[in-house]
Amino acid sequence: MTNIVEFHNVRKSYGAIEVLKGISLSVPKGGVTALIGRSGSGKSTALRCVNGLESIQAGELHVCGRRLHENGVKLRELRKDVGIVFQSYNLFPHKTVEENITLSPRLTRGFSRSQAREIAQRVLAQVGLSEKASSYPEQLSGGQQQRVAIARSLAMEPELMLFDEVTSALDPELTGEVLRTIEALAKQGMTMILVTHEMAFAKRVANQIVFMHQGVVWETGDGKMLDAPQTPELRNFIGNGL
């Protein structure tokens, strides 16, 4: 089984401050990995290294067959294969939902207007928002906007999807619809890495959970790890959460 993502002893610093202190982990094709941990543990930074939003200073990072630790990686090409959804959705406010989704396929993959529209309709159906194609982001709820953001990434037909705390900015009653959408994607076999605080969700959906603490991978395992934490740090972390 090929690994879509492989971290080997990756180190990353912001100036003098080292944020990732030699982390190693892998995500196989079709795998769902949840990164959990406190703020400042490095989990978001690790995620952002995967699609090149952050650079690494040491170690090896393989993503979709590319070596991100070397110079000359074509990030634009990489980002056609790696999609990302942000905490603040970042939809383009001056474009409709459909225009948000069709923009990149038309510009970067050369699809015609009608071809792109078909793609948009397909992914909107996947996230359950077919009727909102002509709406503007400001007319949608937070949960709907986040699902549109997911659809926008899906339209690029990525091999790997990254989710950066995508429900943290939502009201509790809206997180459910987004989590259900992500779970459906996982069942369809999408490889994904999620940074999340939703422990119950991680336990149910992820087949690998990575607990990070102070820039280091502290514990890894599957859902059962959360029931039986080995280290006091993880015990404290979960104790506070659940």
Partner: protein
């Protein structure tokens, strides 16, 4: 006909607007010239200003610095001096440029500097997340500029742009000093024939007011056409 000042103080001034009957073609033509002058300068000035703003925000150190010097030099010197410098300068070098063209060049250079500042502020007010998202959708830098950055920046600062362009239309009045036959020039000509300066400039002031209102209306219309989101939702970005 020409009362003494004493007579005016005691008897009052006799207003005489009859020149309008005789000279309305000159006034109308002057207004048309003003509109043509302004419209051309707005379109060219907008493009030039947007390019300058992009140069300042995204250009290399050298390009950005040059653009900054240009903008600061233009914004801190009067339009009149710029017009004289260009017009008399070109004449002294032997270029036989029509006054109308010299006026457009001056206005474009002038308004582009102010437009650049306004659009630059708009560009810098866009949340950084927009650029991250656009980059992560594999868009190239130019694609991000044209499809994500500039449309949002221009829509955000559109009211300021409208005000700036109306100001420029009013400022075009000074081009009469370099013998452009726009509205103020027409007024000056009529005044030197009829000696009814006060009445003439009252009429011309009213015409400029009307032009200001019409210009705002026209630019609002353009906004409705260009910014489909605004047309449909009616809210600012």
């Amino acid at each position: 006909m020409l009362e003494t000042l004493e007579e005016r103080r005691t008897l009052g001034y006799e207003f005489d607007f009859s020149f309008i009957w005789d000279f309305w073609p000159e006034l109308a033509w002057g207004a048309v010239e003003t509109v043509l002058l302004s419209a051309s300068s707005i379109i060219l000035g907008f493009v030039a200003g947007a390019s300058l703003a992009v140069a300042r925000v995204h250009g290399s150190r050298i390009v950005s610095t040059i653009a900054t010097f240009y903008v600061e030099a233009i914004r801190n010197t009067p339009l009149v001096v710029q017009a004289f410098w260009l017009f008399f300068g070109l004449a002294a070098m032997g270029f036989r440029l029509p006054a109308f063209h010299a006026a457009i060049i001056t206005l474009v250079i002038n308004v582009s500097a102010y437009t650049a500042e306004i659009i630059r502020a708009g560009m810098e007010s866009i949340p950084k997340g927009q650029f991250e998202a656009a980059d992560c959708l594999a868009l190239s830098r130019w694609q991000v500029l044209f499809h994500v950055e500039l449309p949002q920046a221009v829509e955000r600062v559109y009211p300021a742009l409208i005000s700036q362009f109306v100001l420029m239309m009013l400022a075009s009045s000074i081009m009469s000093q370099i013998s452009v036959e726009e509205l103020t020039g027409a007024a000056y000509g009529i005044q030197s024939i009829t000696f009814r300066g006060f009445e003439i400039y009252i009429v011309v002031a009213v015409i400029y007011l009307a032009l200001s209102v019409l210009m705002r209306f026209a630019m609002e219309l353009v906004a409705q056409l260009a910014f489909t989101r605004r047309r449909r939702l009616g809210t600012p970005l």
